[in-house]
Structures are given as structure tokens and as C-alpha cells.
């Protein structure tokens, strides 16, 4: 357990074992340890809803993507969508959860207009996944956050409030499948919380089970935040933060909450257990409901759904179809391919980037060179890295590998290589095509370079005199002139050597 003495004099909020600092700032915070547990809801990217047949896609006209079941009409019954189960099992396997062989669904009751049945079908005492660990890096340091559980549930609709007090409800979202990912209170700073959520987002996108779009609400995060004196065993009273719909919001809201609670505790006041809504525009949170008015959810097993049985054979099939997860790739890239942590992080950020990189290496490119090309050239030219996974990508990994090979062989200079890449990107032609058609192959022929050099010297007698008088920095001018004379195709190293001989001569 960390104590005050670990980071003497530091103003930031300490972060436990790693003694990292939060950016929360403010004097006096250092005596508190921040304890954060996160509940992340990931909307699963299934075609239809979790218990019925209407579309689960985002963006339809209000109430167009509904059916009697998701509207909770009398007489309707839920039927479980197996695609949602598959998504939860994949996520559970990816984080090393125990996948329950038998789990069941539970009704969670409360009244709200966006909740059609007056209860949400969720999982309570028998979630599909138990335990597990999410691993990620914070400032290059390995972090891990343990999970309590991952469970399946249905989303609610959305209340829309118009002017003049009128309210409407859009049930398109009602019944969209969700995975709720509940962490242990292992997170120790706002920044770590935001990185944890980012790691989850990367993971669900790798698995192809959620698009991770926080702004559209396909990934949502609630945080339970409490403070305790460093060294204290007992957890402090927590507040639950909601409505943080971006990574920045997660960080800002938690930092604000840490300061708010620290100020309360410093004044000798108590933190009230309550739910607080983050208002990003105003940069503060507002109390929503306190525990005294907490719902009694009256959980009981959903009688309309038989227990869900996950067989060993099914688990084995899913396991065999799992993609390599981000942390495994990161380890492979840094260890086997000897990439820098920064490069490996960039390449692992999206599955499509890593797949593109791997394909380039498989096509023969050296990993480090492939990494440079992918990061500096390819990624610079795509708005959404996930487009790299599509068949229509402008420069396919094999084409990039061919270009890298031409540069490696000296056929193209690095500068020419980049020009050729731009042409490939614009025109969709291969490097070989462009080189052959335009005669772009680099000239390493010493005689041709010498002839060009002699022409350049003859054309610039003044500069030649100044060089010979000792103005050596003119070397660059002559090299440039030779390159220009040869249409950029001269091997720069060869040009340097030949010019040196001519000039000294």
C-alpha cells in the first residue's frame, strides 16, 4: 500500500503502486488515494437486436427500427440473438474471463418512458463472463485492470425533449445488445481511466464486436470514484459519474470529481453516495439521484428465456476463430520485430493497421522499414484507419512491399520512392509500372553522373571558384544541380562521390 512518503512534495494525486501522477493538480490532493471502478457499456455490432428481429443499426428515422418485441407490446417474448452471445464470449476470451457454462438472464425493474417493458433484461447473479484482466500501457508502463464480470443486456430507447415541454421517445435503440464490462476498483487516476477505456475500445474494435464510437453512444462509460487517505484500507464513499461521451470527458469528469471530493473531505464534510451527470459544456457534474431514492430493482430470473448453455465445443470453435488481440501484437512487434514502443503502439491502435503492417511484412518488407512506411506515408493519407481493411485500399500491402524492395535495391532513392508512393496512392498503379513507364530508375552509373557533373561545373564557374577557395558548403548546391540535371534520378551517394572527385580535381 502506498503512503504519503512515496512521493514527497508532489502536488499531483498519487496513483498507488506506480506512484504516477494524475493531472488533477491542486495542493493537498496528494494525501488521498484515488480509487476508480469503471462500468463500460459496449453496443454490440449485431445486425438485429438482442431479443428480436428489427435492425440494431444506428441512424434510422425515429422508431423505424422497432418491432412488437422491442416495443414491449403485450404478448411478446424475447428470443436470444446468438450473435450477441458470440460477441460476449469473444470479449470474455480476449480478456481471459471465465466463461460460464450456464448463465441466465434477469429482469431489472424500474419505470422510465424509454424502458418499454418496465424492466430491462440483463444478467445479475449468473453473468456470461466472470473475472478477466484488461492490459494496457500508461506512459509506456504496463498496467492491468481486473474485471469483475462482463454481462449481456438490452439497451433502452432514448427520450427526446422538445420545446414547450413536449417529450418524445425513440425506441430504435431499445433492445440493441450491450455488453456491460464491470472493472474492479483498480484504476488510480483519471488518465488511467481514460486509457483503460481506450484499451477496451481498441479491443472491441479488434474483435469486430463494437464500433467503439463514444460520441454516438455505442460505447458508454460510468465511473465510480472515491477517495481515501493513503494507507487506508477501507474504501471511501463513492459517487457514480455518468454521461461521459468521449475519452476527454472521462478524464475531465473524473479529475473534476477528484477535486470535488478532496475539497469536501478537506473541509471535514462527507461525500454523499449519489449519481452525478457530467456536463461537458460547463465542465462540472450535477447530482442526479442519491442513494436514498435508489431503485429497488426487484431482480428475478427472466422466465421467458431458458438458461443459456455454452458448450465446450462452442467455446473451442470461438477460441479458434479469435484474432490476435492488441496486447499480443504489441508484444510481438516490440520483441520479435524490435520496433520502438511508440511505433508498435501506433500500429496496434487498430486491427486494420496491424493487419496491413503484417501483410506488408509477409510480402517481404523488413519490419522496421515497413513500420516507417506505414506510419509516415500510409496512415498520413487515411482519415479512418479502418479503411485499410477494405479491399479498395489505394496501395495494397503487397504493392507497398514491392516499393520498399525497389528502394532497398537502390533502384529508387528514398525521395523518389516517396514520390512513387504518392503516384501509387493517386493512380492505383504498382511501383514497377510507374518506374518502368516514367524511366524513374535511379542512375548509379558513374560515367553518366560524371558527365552531368562536368556539365554542371562548366555552367557554374563562379561557384566552382568559390568552392575551391574553401566555401565547402557549396557542395550541397552542386549535388542539387546534378540531381536536377539528371531529373532526380541520380543515386545521391554516387553523385556526392563523383562531385567530390571533380571538385577536388
Amino acid at each position: 500500500m502506498s503512503t504519503d512518503s512515496i512521493a514527497p512534495g508532489r502536488a499531483g494525486v498519487g496513483t498507488g503502486a506506480g506512484a504516477r501522477e494524475s493531472t488533477a493538480g491542486g495542493t493537498g490532493l496528494g494525501k488521498y488515494e484515488v480509487v476508480i471502478g469503471l462500468e463500460v457499456h459496449a453496443q454490440l455490432a449485431t445486425r438485429s437486436k438482442i431479443f428480436s428481429g428489427s435492425s440494431a443499426a444506428f441512424g434510422a428515422e425515429p422508431n423505424a427500427a422497432t418491432d412488437p418485441v422491442c416495443l414491449g407490446l403485450p404478448g411478446t417474448l424475447p428470443v436470444l440473438n446468438r450473435a450477441a452471445v458470440l460477441a460476449a464470449v469473444k470479449l470474455g476470451l480476449a480478456v481471459g474471463s471465465h466463461i460460464r457454462q450456464t448463465c441466465r438472464f434477469t429482469r431489472k425493474h424500474y419505470f422510465y418512458p424509454d424502458l418499454p417493458k418496465g424492466f430491462q433484461i440483463s444478467q445479475f447473479d449468473e453473468p456470461i463472463c466472470e473475472g478477466g484482466t484488461v492490459r494496457f500501457r500508461l506512459h509506456g508502463e504496463a498496467r492491468s485492470v481486473r474485471l469483475v464480470r462482463i454481462h449481456l443486456e438490452e439497451d433502452a430507447g432514448k427520450n427526446l425533449h422538445a420545446a414547450a415541454g413536449a417529450s418524445f421517445v425513440d425506441y430504435n435503440r431499445a433492445g440493441v445488445p450491450l455488453c456491460e464490462i464491470v472493472s474492479e476498483p483498480d484504476v488510480r487516476s483519471a488518465e488511467e481511466a481514460s486509457e483503460y477505456v481506450r484499451a477496451l475500445r481498441t479491443l472491441v474494435r479488434y474483435l469486430g464486436i463494437c464500433d467503439g464510437n463514444m460520441e454516438e453512444g455505442s460505447m458508454r462509460c460510468d465511473a465510480n470514484v472515491s477517495l481515501r487517505l493513503r494507507g487506508a484500507e477501507r474504501l471511501g464513499t463513492k459517487a457514480e459519474l455518468k454521461n461521459m461521451n468521449s475519452f476527454k470527458n472521462v478524464r475531465d469528469a473524473i479529475e473534476h470529481e477528484v477535486r470535488r471530493q478532496a475539497a469536501l473531505l478537506d473541509r471535514g464534510e462527507r461525500v454523499i453516495q449519489e449519481t452525478r451527470l457530467w456536463d461537458a459544456a460547463r465542465g462540472l457534474s450535477v447530482a442526479m439521484r442519491s442513494k436514498e431514492h435508489a431503485h429497488d430493482y426487484r431482480y428475478f430470473p427472466e422466465p421467458d428465456l431458458p438458461p443459456l448453455v455454452v458448450s465446450d465445443a462452442y467455446l473451442a470453435d470461438v477460441r479458434a476463430s479469435m484474432p490476435e488481440i492488441p496486447e499480443a501484437r504489441y508484444a510481438r512487434y516490440t520483441a520479435l520485430a524490435a520496433l520502438s514502443p511508440q511505433d508498435a503502439s501506433v500500429l496496434c491502435a487498430e486491427r486494420e493497421i496491424a493487419d496491413y503492417f503484417d501483410a506488408t511484412v509477409r510480402a517481404g518488407a523488413a519490419p522496421k522499414k515497413a513500420a516507417n512506411w506505414v506510419i509516415n506515408e500510409v496512415l498520413a493519407r487515411v482519415d479512418d484507419a479502418r479503411l485499410l481493411g477494405e479491399a479498395g485500399v489505394k496501395v495494397a500491402p503487397t504493392a507497398l512491399a514491392e516499393l520498399i524492395a525497389l528502394v532497398d535495391a537502390g533502384t529508387l532513392s528514398g525521395k523518389l520512392g516517396k514520390d512513387v508512393f504518392l503516384r501509387m496512392w493517386a493512380e492505383g498503379r504498382t511501383a514497377r509500372d510507374i518506374v518502368a513507364a516514367e524511366g524513374l530508375a535511379q542512375v548509379s552509373d558513374t560515367d553518366a553522373i560524371r558527365a552531368a557533373g562536368e556539365r554542371v561545373l562548366a555552367a557554374h564557374p563562379d561557384e566552382l571558384r568559390r568552392y575551391r577557395a574553401g566555401e565547402r558548403k557549396l557542395m550541397g548546391f552542386f549535388v542539387g544541380a546534378v540531381m536536377k540535371e539528371m531529373g532526380g534520378k541520380a543515386n545521391p551517394k554516387g553523385a556526392n562521390e563523383v562531385l567530390k572527385l571533380l571538385l577536388e580535381g
Binding site: 416495443l71 417474448l77 424475447p78 428475478f300
Partner: protein, 513 residues
Amino acid sequence: MASAASSSTTSASTLPEVRGASIATLAEGVRAGRWKARDLTEAYLDRVARLDGALGTYLLVDGERARRRASAIDAARVEGRPLGPLAGVPIALKDIFITRDIETTCASKILRGFHPPYESTPSQRLADAGTVMLGKLNMDEFAMGSSNENSSRGTVKNPWSLAHVPGGSSGGSAAAVAASLCAGALGTDTGGSIRQPAALCGVVGIKPTYGRVSRHGVVAFASSLDHPGPFGRTVDDVATLLEVIAGPDPMDATSIPTPVGRYREAVRAGSQAGIAGVRVGVPAEYFGAGMDAEVESAVRAAIAEVERAGANVVPVSLPNTKYAIATYYLICTAEASSNLARYDGVRFGYRTPDAHSLEELYTRTRGEGFGWEPKRRIMLGTYVLRAGYYEAYYGKALKARRLLADDFAAAFARCDVMLTPTSPIPAFRFGEKTADPLQMYLADVMTVAANLAGIPALSQCCGFTRAGLPIGLQVMGPPLGEEAVFRVAGAYEARTDWHRRLPEDPRASGGVA
């Protein structure tokens, strides 16, 4: 004999007496062209118009749609297109079955004006078989009751005595079939709601195995106990309807994948070949104190008749029967409180006209929309499920339910079916039990255990009291043991003529009241 081309007015003379007609007879006549579906429909609609004012079985008569449908069946027959096995048979549905574009209310104010956009699986299957749906039948509100006195739309009278209740909650279905206001009907049975009114009205009704008939489109009262099932005048009628509505349904995750049995064949086997060697269990716990003497003697006589038909009668025991009522009312109220949460005035049905806040919208809509019995059960169920008490109530009830199912499993190791009374008492008078809800709940003592165990159970008539009220015999079978139940019921019916007795038509009331 009228030709096929004759008009409906002249062909009406070829109609059979629809009062007391069996489904098989009616369907066969339509198929053979002896009468028209349209005339059959007119005959039943005429009876409904003349007699139902006195009985109150229908909440909604959809004559126009029924006539259109019957005419379409006649046209199909003339054109040689295939007809369903029950083409032209006029049926009616308890108003708990969801019917597309036809108001479905569960006899509750809170569902007034609800015109569903979809059709229930059982009613769809009946329609696919060619039946003509005449209308929606009265019931206890949300199927909560044993006398049909809990309807928000008026009581149903027992056709055998207008001063007596028809039973409930499917009182409208039982009474309509008894009075020949439809040839067959569907009901639901959560704690006896098919069998008890069948017994009190002297008709046949079966609650099949849980999951045998889809609950898709059947408004939920208590999901794990709700069983849709048919009513008919005879065991064969009920077997016929069950064959049509039973079977797996992708829209109900609790429906059973096993293929449907041959129920009519089982009835025929029982009535023709007898039941030699069939082991008939008689559970001692179902013949205890509180039973009406006339009921007991009629049921004992029925057991003796079954024995004469060749069955071996064996005493069996269901020792946990005493926990059945308590267990049932814990589970059914818990599930009801949950299932009835959706009636909030937001999306369909009744909404209070004067709510000034969301809280008021909920409390006023529900306060004004629900009758007393749903309110009572919502409150009981909410209490049962509240935080910290789950194990003490619902959890314990689930354990008791397991014990009751184990009782049946052990007893059915020693017998093929069991015979008991359906109701310890015959039909009672209006108002006789409404003052004391607990007395009303105890009327379910013979029936609830079969719902808790999910086993098939049928009620058929086995006699009448001196006052002329029917008495019901209950035939229970093991899970998916419908064929054994039908075989024994068919054998008993073939040896008796209780089912041939018909109540007198009530005096015509001069149109629908």
C-alpha cells in the same frame, strides 16, 4: 338437397343443429359441401346476437370479418383450392390472445383501444387451419380470478344457471362453448383458468404441457405458469384443436421442440379399444376436507367407471400438495408484478387524461386503468421481490415448486395418468366469494399444482349436482403425456353421456345488452 350453386338463404336449410354440434361434424360438412362456411358463421352469429345478452361471454363480435372470411372459404372450395383441416369452423378467443387490428383488452380498462399490430401464434395457427374467428371472449381481468367477476366489462353467467359464476379466468370461453355460441375456443390456464371454468360449465378443456403451445402473442400474467389451451364440447374436439395450435415456435424460447403427438388417435384408441392395463393414479391429497359431497361422489363414480373400462386404479401420494397454493401465489404475483409493469400509459392502451408529471402519468394511469385484483397482485408481487426478501419468498417458492414437480415425477413412476376433481366445489353464486379473496384463491387448490409442475391436465364433465350444475373430472398426465390423458378421457367419455347434455338456451334478451 340444395346444390352447391344455391344461395346462402336456401342452403341454410341444410345446416345441422349447431347447438351442441361437434367440431369434427362441422368441418366435415364444409369440406363435403353439405353446408357453407358462411351459413355456419351466420348461424353462430345469430345465436350470439340472440343469446349472449343474457350470458355476456363476448367482449367483441367481429361479424363483418367473420362473414368475409367464411365467404372466402366457400369461394376457395368452389374453386377447388385446398382447405384447412378446420375450414369454416366458427371459433372464438379469450381476449388475452393478441389479434392483429382487432382490439385486445384482457378485459382491462388499461388496454382499451389497443389494436395490436401482430397476431398470436395459437390464433394464427387456428386461422391457418381455416377456422372462422367470431370474436373475443370475456375473462377475469388479466386472467386473474376464478369466477369471471374480475372483468372490467361485466360478468359472464353460467349457462347452466344464470345465478352462478362460470368459473375463471377463462369464463367467457367455457360459457360460450357450453352455450354453443362458438364451436370451440381458446383460453389460458395459469392456475386452473381453463380447467376450472370447463368443469363449472360442463365442457372439456385442456392445459397442455408447459411449452407445448406457444405463448407468443398471449398476454402474460405469470410467464412460467401461463398455458394456452383449447375448449371444446367433447374430448375429440379439444384434441383436434390442440393438434392445430401445439408445436414448436421460434418466437417462444420456452416452446418445446418435440413433434406434436397424435391426440385424436389417442382419443379414438381410448373410446374404441378401451384402456385395459392403463394405470390410473388417485392421489389421496386431492380428496381431503373442504370438498363438496356431490363432487366427491361424482368423481369417485368416474374413477369406478374408468376401472370398469379396464384401467388399474392405484393409490398414489403427492405429499407436498399442501404447499401448492402458497407457492403458486408467491410465484404468480411476483411474475405478474413484473409483466404488468409495461402498462404505463406511454405507448398503448389507457392513459390518464390529467397527468402533470411523469410520476403522475404512471400512478394515475395505473391507478385508474387496473382493477382491484391486478392491483392486489402487483402489490403482493412487488412485496415478494423486494430487495433482501427474494430468498425468503421467491427463492423458497422455487424450491417448493421443485418439490411439487418431484412429487409428480415419483407418482407418475407408478401410474400413467391421475384422476382428481377439477374443483372441490361446483359453480358458486355471484358475490359468494368476492368478499374474501383468500377463499377465492383456495378454489384453485386442485389445479395449481399442474401449472407449477408444467404437466398436462384436462377437465371433462363427470356428472351434475342435484341443482343441475356440472361437475368436473381432472385427468393429469406426466410431461408431454397428452396422449395418455386423451386416451383415458376418450375412454371415459365413450362410456358416459354427460357431454351430450346441453344447457337450455337462455331466454332471448332481444338483442345484445
